[in-house]
Symmetry: C2
Subunit: 112 residues, 2 copies
């Protein structure tokens, strides 16, 4: 399970990450909220843990899992150059519309 991208390719893992967005959660909570079997949850959590997406603290017999930011930031970093790319596209589209559209009723788009 090499890269962060492979980790988040799995839908159940993305669901788990989504859950942890709000609060830390025990394994049992995740199991119930997502309707997966306990071993499945544990296995996905192990993957996420090994990749640094989550960390756990012990609360008696429970483990409370919470998010860690780093791997997600790595994904964000990968996206960065592409973001620039598509922002150019939006600009180009806007310019195109400015040229071709009759300014509808228009909220004062720029261009004299």
């Amino acid at each position: 399970m090499e890269s962060v991208f492979e980790i988040i390719a799995e839908p159940n893992r993305r669901a788990i990450l989504g859950l942890l967005l709000t609060n830390e959660q025990s394994v049992g909570n995740i199991e119930r909220q997502l309707g997966m079997t306990q071993p499945t949850v544990s296995k996905h959590l192990k993957v996420l843990r090994d990749a640094g997406f989550v960390e756990a603290t012990v609360d008696a017999q429970r483990r409370l899992y919470r998010l860690k930011p780093e791997p997600l930031e790595e994904i964000d970093a990968w996206l960065t150059p592409f973001r620039q790319f598509w922002m150019k596209h939006v600009d180009a589209l806007e310019r195109h519309l400015d040229r071709t559209d009759p300014p509808t009723k228009s909220k004062g788009r720029r261009k004299k």
Copy 2:
């Protein structure tokens, strides 16, 4: 090959996307620059095409492939709530350092 996340999980596909960031490319160009066999390139391009990451135009026998923004924006959108999460973390870390550090030589960090 359901989701955009599975698509970009494959390293060769990410490499192809990276190449297309600069210019549109023919299959042969990709093949040479990335050192993959031609069928492999074509297959990955098909996956990327079906998922809307790229589009091609015909130039005689060549196909010129270029990026399309939408699927990448989808990934970006998925990241959004997590971005908020880790920005809180950075804030918390900064506040922590403000409390514990002697202001080094400090470029005038806030706090009265």
